[in-house]
Every structure is written in structure tokens, then in C-alpha cells.
Amino acid sequence: MIQLSSTDYDAIRLSLQVAIAATLLSLPFGFAVAYLITFVKFRGKVLLEVLVNLPLTLPPVVVGYLLLLLLGRHGWLGSLLNKADIRLIFTLKAAVIASAIVGFPLLVRSLRIGMEGIDPQLLNASRTLGARWHDTLLTVILPLSVPGLVAGSSLVFARSLGEFGATIIVAGNIPGITQTIPLAIYEYAASPTGETMALSLCLVSVVISLAVLFLHEMMAKKMARRG
């Protein structure tokens, strides 16, 4: 019943590669931003919060188009990269960047919930015991943020698997190189003769998403039980 061609297997492999890379890429930045928003007082914090949440509300094609303007050959950052012979547009790297950006708000959100649930008494205790802020960060906050980290990571992973609008604009639809599952399904869906193939890939996509979301729910429950 399920027919998958070799380009379909490529699509599945590329989707997983992009999702894993995007999650790993966004983790350090997400953690840093969540820490700043939760524990550090500074002016203009609202601006940072709004900027972080922006990719969540912007249509993904807008995110993609803005990225294209930024990283394209004639773009602001792109022309500099071009001189160093680094090429991002229409490569898998662009797909990873796009997915990381659209998933970023979800990661920060999860991490913030986790960090806000940390008992402030523990932080005060570590401070009275003489720990510097980085010591507290590594030995108290980081271990206690792990459930939030895992929950956030699974959300970024799931979002990356479904990323289409920004990806097709900055990474293009290149079978075997950047054609992830949503792009492959889009190509099949535009063709009258691609029905069964589209459905097969859809099924694979649903199965992967269900598995990831299951994991997320389990982690969220674990976090709630702790608090």
C-alpha cells in the first residue's frame, strides 16, 4: 500500500537531518535567551520578548523572504558571505537556519516555563553560599531546566519536520539536496498523477510527528509532576 521512491527516502532522511540540526542549533541560543528573560532584569526586556515571539506570529513565507533578503547573494549579510565563498541560499544549511528560526519561540517558551518553575529558594541558597552567577547557572539552573529543555527541543523538532513556507523560499525544492517531506508532498500534490505517492509520504509524516508529540506530552507531564 505504501509506495516510496528513492527520492522519498531522501526526503525523509533530509527532514530528519534538518530537524536534528535545527534543534541542536537553537538550543544554546534558546537557553541563553530564556535565562536572560527569566532571571536578568534589564531595560527593554519587552522588546526582546516580542522579537523572540515574532517568528511565531509571522507567516513562514515572510520569515523565508526576509531571510532571503538577508542571506541572498545581493543581501546585506549574504554579500559578505559571498566574498568568503560561503553560500547559504539553496543549500541544506538554509533549511536548517529557517527551521531553527521558526522553532525558536517554541523552545524559549518551554524553557521559560521550566525556569520559572524553579524554586527561588534554591537560587537564594546558592547565592548565600557564595556561588557566582555562572556557577549557579551551570550547577542549579541547567540541571533543573532539563525537562523544559527536552520539551522545548521536541517542539522545535516537530516544527522543523513541518516547516514549509520559509524552507521553500530559502532552500528551494531540490530533490536529494533540500527537498524535505513537506516539499516533496507539495510537488506530488501539484501533479494529477501523484496521489498515492503523496498519501504515502503524508502517512510517514504523520507517524513521525505522532512519535515526537507523544514524547513531548510525556515530558510535559513529568515537568508538571515536579512542580
Binding site: H74, I174, G176, A190, S191, P192, T193
Partner: protein
Amino acid sequence: MKNVFHMITTTLLCFILLATPVLAGDINLSVAASLKEVINELSDGFARKHPGVKFVKNYGASGALAKQIESGAPSDVFISANLEWLEYLKNRKLVDTASIGTFTYNTLVFAGAPGKASSLHDLVKLERIAIGSPKSVPAGEYAMEAFKKAGFGKQLEKKLVMARDVRECLMYVERGEVDGAFVYKTDALLAKQARILFTVPQELYPRVTYPMALTVAGAKNRDADAFFAYLHGDEAKSVLAKYGFAPR
């Protein structure tokens, strides 16, 4: 509770009544993307002579259009960029067989920045080549057939950026994100930055033919019928020639 029920019923009724009705003077066109300028000009010309007629234009890849018509999208006139998609609809009895004719012809070229390539051989040196997705874009199907026949199929495999129609190919090459694209000669003539680097040898692919037909719904639409006849006329021929399409 009764008030809420009344409110919901009234709102729903408003939505239903405000739904856009299909007006009698509408002509729904499903046309291959490469004919956009030609059909825009011809429909404007026709609308000036026939006030009250409104065109709903849908430009895109012929395969995607065929699928939309099959799925029930309103359409009166269908102009495809290859015979395959018209045959597809004909086999499903969705077009008026008596109306099938040929609108025009075209040639396939490779467009890009000057100096990138001068023949099919040079393509293997390029990094990224834009092509319409062969699953639904005739230009892509023609291109794929051409370089497969020339023996470059394997070598060009991982270089191909799939576009949803021939105009998107042109857009990629205009932006400089690809080294070149397989487009029609008429599309390349509209390009501002890209140039025609070489014409794909005609022996490698079937002649680019644009068949046209009235759909089953279109055959019953008097205005669509009149427009269809207009497309066969002299004004249509001169507009086609103006944009570089081969004469019938």
C-alpha cells in the same frame, strides 16, 4: 439560550447569503503560466468590446491546472503548454472534444547570466539549474526529456531546483540564486537580467505545443464560447507575434 440560538442562525444565514455567487458574465480561464501577458492583453481587449464580461484568470503549471479542473475548480477555457495535460482531461471527459484546437507553439531555451554556458555540455559545470517540476510543469518535462536524450540525465540530477511553474524558474535566475534555468524563449525575452544562453536543440524534445479547449462547463457558457472564438482570430495572432510566440 433561545437568543443565542437565534444569533447563531442569523449569522450563519448571513454567511450563506453573502457567499460569492457565480455570475453569468464570468469567464474562468485556466492558462499555462507562460501565456500570462498574452492572455492578459487579449482578455482586456475582449472585455473592452464586451462590457459586462468579467474574467477570472488562473495562471499556473498546466499539470496543476488540470488537477484543479479535475477536482472541480470552475473553468471555462483551458490552454495547456503540452498535449499531455489536455489529453488527461479529454480522457476524463472534462473538455468539449469538438472545441480542441492549437493556440500557438514555442521553443525551449536555457537562460542565465551571460557567459555561464553555451551548450548542454556546459551544464554539468554549473551548480544549480532551475527547472519546472516535471511532474506538473510541461517546460520541465520538455527540459528533462532533452537532457536525458542528450545523455546528461545522471550528471544533472542533484543540480536541479524544482520550480512550481516556468515563471518561478525565470524568477530564480533573475535573482541570481541559480546559475541558469530552462524556460521558453518567450519567457526569456521578458527577462531583465538573464539572457538566452542557448536554444535547446529541437531534435531532443517534442515541439512545444499549446492545445486549447473549452471545458464541459465552458461549452455551455456563451461568453466563454465567444472569447474562445476570439482566441482563434487575427488580433490574437498579432498579440502572440508581439510576445515572440511562433506563428500557427
